[in-house]
């Protein structure tokens, strides 16, 4: 085969790869773009859109969302529930994960398997027992109940993730810290915790996103409109006979933004090579 033909084949392969990436990118991004287009279309006109570009652009849907609907309240509820449940899951997960990683005790393996088993259950199968349990404890239709419900969703994986991150930190580092004057707790605080920071950021993001996106628990455990999270709020734009698509898409766009912000803030903490140079 001549060099020219080999070169031509390589160029064709590159073009094919680039084309594939563009098609996949469009497939992923188009729904988000279309959400933006509908959100910027005047109310009631989205069904008459004739091209992929909006004919008229308006921000009235966003104004309506925050003036005529309690979107701000729903967003705030979502932020409170997601932040609290992810923070508490993080605290719980890191403590348990650290203990399971560092302390040798009988039944540790069984605990890990049981924790993992809870993740195998679909949320739909635990929502009813949870509903009955919360009803008996007076936690239905309360923010505390929502937070607890979301912790039950996030904590098991948080424990596993935290254990994995602590396993990757050489035990000698904490040994060195304990010889250098630390107690087991202060060695955890000064050495293990800062080094696990990328992992903790990942756990926080996972917890925040899981809680933020939850619809099932939010719809089942909360009745009062003032306690709705944004996920429940968005669903309220869908009526029995007609749906306010423009308002719903404006709400969806607004709903997506905080998660992006949290990810952008936290992703700087997810850096590789945090342990480089510590041990050979």
């Amino acid at each position: 085969m001549s060099a020219r033909r080999r070169f031509g084949g390589a160029v064709a392969a590159d073009i094919f790869k680039a084309g594939g990436i563009v098609v996949l990118g469009c497939a992923v991004l188009f729904p988000i773009y279309w959400m933006g287009v509908i959100a910027l279309t005047p109310t009631g006109f989205s069904r008459s859109l004739s091209s992929v570009f909006p004919a008229d652009i308006t921000f009235q849907n966003f104004v309506t969302l925050f003036t005529e609907r309690p979107m701000l309240r729903w967003l705030w509820n979502s932020i409170v529930v997601a932040a609290l449940s992810s923070f508490l899951s993080l605290a719980f997960g890191t403590s348990c994960g650290y203990a399971l990683s560092r302390l040798k005790f009988r039944g540790a393996g069984l605990v890990l398997i049981l924790v993992l088993a809870t993740q195998m259950m679909p949320a739909t199968s635990i929502v009813v027992p949870l509903y009955i349990l919360f009803r008996d404890f007076g936690l239905l239709d309360t923010m505390q109940g929502m937070v607890l419900g979301h912790i039950s969703l996030v904590a098991p994986l948080a424990i596993w993730m935290a254990k994995g991150f602590f396993d990757s930190i050489p035990a000698d580092l904490e040994g060195a810290a304990r010889i250098d004057g630390c107690t087991r707790l202060s060695a955890y605080w000064y050495v293990a915790l800062p080094l696990a920071m990328p992992g903790l950021a990942a756990i926080f993001i996972y917890g925040f996103v899981t809680s933020w996106h939850d619809f099932l628990f939010a719809k089942t455990l909360i009745n009062s409109q003032s306690l709705w999270t944004a996920a429940t709020g968005i669903s309220s734009f869908r009526g029995e006979y007609f749906t306010l698509h423009e308002l719903q898409m404006a709400a969806a766009l607004t709903f997506a933004l905080p998660v992006v912000v949290v990810f952008l803030v936290m992703q700087r903490r997810i850096v590789s090579g945090a342990l480089s140079g510590s041990v050979r």
Binding site: D172, A176, I179, G181, C182, V191, V279
Partner: protein, 365 residues
């Protein structure tokens, strides 16, 4: 500084006992090296002294204090780990100053002590760097700096040089020795490298399977090993060990090897050896004299292998069913496949009895 004592120390993991009643006394200011093959328990002993492992029997004392059961922070010791164990999120200065920070020392005083320790180790220009920005040797120096900055009662080194390349290891070995001389501190150094043990130690503790085989000066260990294990572990190339039976020949005793009864090694006359007794003869490669095959004396054999390191050649000679290694210094190594003779000086022989203990001569020559 303080002396250190292990008194009947035992360690078990479940039903498995890995340290069996170890007794070691280390004097104040002494540099003692624990040496032994992998799994002999040397690092476990050190970790028990540090408090990172609990002894399940016996007691460990530093100075007048029994420290068994105390957390590591209350033992006033410093330790350099095999893998450096530097805190990657802290700079060199923060790493070295960490023990002082834990003591609650003021930032100014801490800085002064850190600069002083860094000066001793040639790290002044690296204080603001992170461990990942340092070479292996520099990282090891930082680990040593973190140990010396707090002036502990004893320094523990857990195979600190094993991750370094050969040239750096020799340099760091010298630095540890100089540091010991300068600080006059009690140091306990763990290694599996017998050269490190021989060159560094005031005294060596040879361990095997959780038991002390011998404690002594490097010279003692090398020239007067307690048993054939110690004789075989210390020395490179390793000692030649020939097991056999004592037989009388022409008025004197000879050793007839098990592996080739046709051979006979004349034994030194100063030992009282009963005919028929089973012993092991040990002779170090440097005490075997390799002479040309044309020489009239010695045992003739075939050269089957030669390891030439430049200054020294380790020549393996096949004598019937036996293979013996002789060291040849300076001279050109013999041709592989050629013939040569070995002359053995009986005065340099080590003899071990049936119970594997070294035999002492019954009389002077």
């Amino acid at each position: 500084m303080a002396d250190v004592a292990f008194r009947g120390v035992e360690k078990s993991f479940g039903n498995v006992t890995v340290i069996h009643g170890v007794d070691i006394d280390i004097a104040d200011g002494e540099l003692v090296v624990f040496v032994g093959p992998s799994g002999c328990g040397k690092s476990t002993l050190l970790r028990m002294l540090a408090g990172l492992e609990e002894n399940t029997g016996g007691e460990i004392a530093i100075g007048d204090d029994v420290v068994s059961g105390l957390p590591p922070k209350d033992r006033d010791i410093a330790m350099v780990f095999q893998n450096y164990a530097l805190y990657p999120h802290m700079t060199v200065a923060e790493n070295i100053g960490f023990p002082l920070r834990m003591q609650g020392m003021s930032a100014a005083e801490r800085r002064e002590r850190v600069v002083e320790a860094a000066g001793l180790l040639g790290l002044e220009t690296y204080l603001e760097r992170y461990p990942r920005e340092l070479s292996g040797g520099q990282r090891q120096r930082v680990a040593v700096g973190r140990a010396i900055v707090r002036k502990p009662r004893a320094f523990l080194f857990d195979e600190p040089l094993s991750n370094l390349d050969a040239a750096l290891r020799v340099q760091m070995r010298k630095e540890v020795k100089l540091l010991h001389r300068r600080l006059g501190a009690t140091m306990i150094f763990v290694t599996h490298d017998q050269v490190e043990a021989m060159t560094l130690a005031d005294r060596i503790v040879v361990l095997r399977a959780g038991r002390v085989e011998q404690i002594g000066t490097p010279d003692d260990i090398y020239r007067r090993p307690a048993n054939s294990f110690v004789a075989g572990f210390i020395g490179s190339p390793p000692i030649n060990l020939i097991a056999g039976t004592v037989e009388p020949r022409s008025g004197s005793a000879v050793l007839v090897p098990e592996e080739d009864p046709a051979l006979a090694f004349p034994l030194p006359p100063q030992f009282d050896l009963a005919p028929g007794s089973r012993i092991t003869l040990g002779i170090r490669p440097e005490n075997l004299l390799l002479v040309p095959a044309t020489a009239g004396s010695g045992l003739e054999g075939k050269v089957v292998f030669c390891e030439n390191s430049g200054q020294e050649s380790a020549v393996t000679l096949e004598l019937g069913g036996l293979q013996l290694v002789a060291s040849l210094w300076g001279d050109e190594p013999p041709v592989i496949g050629g013939r040569a003779r070995l002359e053995i000086d009986p005065a340099r022989m080590l003899l071990f009895d049936d119970a594997d203990m070294r035999l002492e001569p019954a009389r002077e020559t």
